[in-house]
Symmetry: D2
Subunit: 339 residues, 4 copies
């Protein structure tokens, strides 16, 4: 950690700051430059020290050199985390594809889509039973009934299932019916939810907040890991920028970046990242070329008669099947297995 002081700071004030630092058990090295005095901190600093020093008078900036997360960091866990669920491996050189509708609507709908996901070669069935919606008057999801229909469909076709969990209270019921729990972009910093997910063992797919930095995202993962659940995968789903043609800006460089910073698997979500059906196939391939460990893709059989919105980015079944065939060719070139 490096502390940069105001210009013209007095010797006495520097000494006071050094005193505050050293009483936490680390060493402080002062070097006086032309304009600024810089204090380097050597030793294992308490996570709260940076915040404390930043709030002191005459401190202009504090620059952290070490990362604030530990369990999520590759520095402390050099090998890729591989999460295994009922024989499906996620992470490392495995490519996983999760497909399904934005929202579960009827037992027939989810059964038919599950059949199509399986036939195309997907391993996981996605589907929302609880939906986070911008306004209170929009469709908020089918609820627990939907989870049951999805579990039946998953069991019938031999697919894992993934669903979004929105509150600490529904973690248990979601974990009962779904294999993987998904934290949505608006909940990435719902710390109570993250803490609760740390107490279970189901794998968690943690979507990046649409304005979260890599550091905030990995700190959010740290909440789950620190609670005792090591089965976390990260999901890049686009960030909010000035460009509004696509719903979000798909930050594909996030994939190799967080794979360098962390050992956790990274899944890409081209459906929400672009919000446009006609871009999903191309951006799915680009995600795999960027090194993604998996994809989560919306697919729907009949968006014309869907009551649930978000169909604008859903692939039709024939598009989904064609894409997976192409991914099977691309994956080996990228050092990934897809079978």
């Amino acid at each position: 950690m490096i502390v940069i002081t105001s210009p013209h700071i007095s010797e006495e004030r520097v000494a006071e700051i050094v005193h505050q630092i050293e009483k936490t058990g680390v060493q402080a090295h002062v070097s006086r430059g032309v304009d600024r005095t810089v204090i380097g901190i050597i030793g294992k600093a308490d996570p709260q020290l940076a915040e404390h020093i930043r709030s002191m008078r005459d401190v202009e900036n504090v620059i952290k050199i070490s990362k604030s997360y530990k369990l999520a960091s590759r520095d402390f866990h050099p090998d890729d985390t591989i999460i295994e669920v009922k024989g499906v491996k996620i992470g490392g050189d495995n490519l996983v594809v999760m497909g399904g509708p934005c929202a579960v609507e009827t037992p027939e709908q989810i059964d038919e889509i599950a059949r199509l996901v399986k036939a195309a070669g997907g391993q996981v069935l996605r589907g929302g039973a609880f939906k986070p919606r911008t306004g209170p008057y929009s469709f908020q999801g089918i609820g627990i009934e939907g989870l049951k229909w999805m579990k039946e469909a998953g069991d019938k076709y031999g697919l894992l299932t993934i669903t979004e969990v929105m509150t600490p209270e529904t973690v248990e019921v979601c974990a009962e019916y779904a294999d993987i729990l998904q934290v949505g972009t608006r909940n990435m910093q719902n710390f109570d939810l993250l803490r609760k997910l740390g107490t279970i063992q189901n794998p968690v797919l943690l979507k990046r907040g649409f304005s979260a930095t890599y550091d905030e995202w990995l700190n959010a993962a740290e909440y789950i890991l620190a609670g005792g659940n090591p089965n976390v995968m990260l999901c890049e789903r686009g960030i909010r920028t000035f460009e509004t043609y696509t719903r979000n800006t798909f930050d594909l460089a996030a994939i190799p970046v967080v794979q360098q910073l962390s050992h956790l698997p990274v899944i890409a979500d081209p459906s929400h990242a672009t919000g446009r059906r006609e871009l999903v196939e191309t951006m799915s391939k680009a995600s795999v070329a960027a090194g993604a460990n998996g994809l989560i893709i919306e697919m729907h059989t009949d968006p014309d008669n869907s009551a649930t919105g978000d169909g604008v980015q859903s692939l039709f079944p024939d598009q989904f099947a064609k894409l997976l065939k192409e991914l099977a060719q691309l994956a080996p070139l990228m050092g990934k297995r897809f079978d």
Copy 2:
């Protein structure tokens, strides 16, 4: 609502889209332009209709003309909402100042700060007992004990109190001890929390999500209002942009904009918006000149010995007192009472 179709759409497909629209009970008017066909929708459309149509094949865009929120809209409630709590009026031509530390630390600390807030002319004591923190290893707040200390200090000096509530489960205990509940920027779209706050009558200060549009912010307020709690105030606290010199970019134009769109009071938070003590006084005045109905400002007596972070933007007591004197001169020029 206006639907823009793909170029070269067939007559049959237009007819199908019109059919889907009209079966919801509204009228559709088709006009064929040079490049695109446009379908205008006349009548009171269901909030889910836009989403449904957007997901249809051959629909390029859906543009909403009416707003998706109702109770928060000035169209349906032309007069300013004025929230009255124990004789303090918030909204309309009243200016309210909320001051206090980032976090409650000890009974002595909050008592001393309450005394200073009152002496300077503030009406509300702020202080966090539950703190949302980026990483799991940072100080997470004192908890309920802190709420009690703050209530005592508020009662002793005749100040209202405001504190952040982070989860649905703690809404009741927070509402028992604090007069006003604050929803933090990361929780603006924690819909369960919003729904719970709709079930009580304590006023709620809803901070804008750091990447939320005005529309999303007012829709979040709508969740609380639709639940039955009319006492909502909005708080602009800066948005995330490419500029990193200030912690956030203080979007002061948000104040007159949401006052035009909505009847709810708007409070400005120059402390978190800038993250720099030396900017807080100037930006407090700019907030009042922009029409803010109030300010929420961090103040601390001894940031050097605070264990809680965020002191970097806290005013010292003498700065706080001087600022409030200057605001008392500025307020009348802006048509506001501050007394």
Copy 3:
């Protein structure tokens, strides 16, 4: 074009607005909704009409349905533009790789790098002689001498050359020595420069402004095309967002988007988009998977002893050669020729 008026607009005022619209030779259709009156414009509207109407009293918004650019649009030119320079084809199903240093430094440096680019299979040698720099005290480039050295190296090894042109006055000298002229991100809306480039026939690589929308980018291309130079290629090089870990956020979805909107070739610049050497190889592959018609990549033999900056994202020659081998395998899967 659709005009949305203020609520409660009078019949008289609507009639005045309609009059203003119709005197430009197009038709106006008025429809009155619940909250707003909407005026649809049918016919070939003058590009200035939208601006004019937006500035009228009681007009709340003007939504353009047709695009404001014509020559750059795929609507008016359905087939891919293929630019041919000295036997190298850019666009369509050809993949082109441009490599070289950020800045030309010495004749020996550029000769050696040209040799390596050719040996690896690249077709174009890049190198800056005039450098845009944030501050006036940074190295501003070698100037014309550098152009000559680069031309010699290009001729010797049978490579096309590309260099950045920064001012209208130097367009001619750059066009004399270099095959392709590059417009940098800060100059995307230097309209005088664009107009000048419309008067020559050398191909122009137009980098996206780091905060430009797709629409602004294609309008910038329109300036060059409208001047009479049809040989324009677009270059995605990252946009500015809140994330600072990478120098820019690489907006890979821009590639398929502008390929749908326009017929012009799209080149990706993973070096400047990421600003980090360790990401360039992965993001080069992702660019090709996203459909890029080519890549422009920085490569340097000795960044330790370079005086010119920007080496942080330069590949070493062995990395560059290995990457091009891998691209040769990837290209056919994406329907591209790379030879």
Copy 4:
């Protein structure tokens, strides 16, 4: 300057980096932390050194402590710059108001508006003769004729004049007819134009690029100052963010920030910052409360019949006059003279 190396860097490599640093005549101090080695640089480093080191192998980051601009910095010029033009003082405790149309249209129009600006108490007449436009088919301005009409109107009513200059070649003709030259947001990094403006003595109003950081903005000013023209004022005109309700996000904190970093006057442009007439008056007051040294405001007598666009943010003359009366009351409270 502080250099942060990769983890696990060898002693030999650290020694090589130190050697590269020290051969430029500054000292390097190495300190080895738990995870990283940090090299502090003491002494007056060459501006190019940071770039050079960043490009070296095993260097993870370079953090600059000193600013890269000198002449624009308050560190080297503690007193406010006050620019005096024909008796009008800009900077320090003077408030200046510049008003007028987006574009000069006819001699009658600019004469009438000049009369109104003067009557309301403004000191400077603004008006564009050369207009930067996103697309090539929009109105590009009247040209030199417009400059002459504006000069006549300014002379007649005793107003200074300001106009936008877009290219190095037109600097001289603009400087002949206008008192102050304005650099538009898209040209903030048109370095050739900045260099040319360094060679004249007319005051220059340098608008912030719509995605420029404070540091880039002050470096752009440095180009003009370093060329020999000390008469630079900065203009905050809004930045591009995700919020699209306002045309830009008005970054009012930029005013006190750049006044702390620099001695140059800061002018606010609420018209372009908001793009909405109904926000201009409020945000003008907020700008003055934030400490602005002046305002540049669009005003038009007849936007209905203007052919030039941008009228959507123009005040009507009565609004402009009322605003200036209110500013005359507000200015003294902010320590400013407005007369």
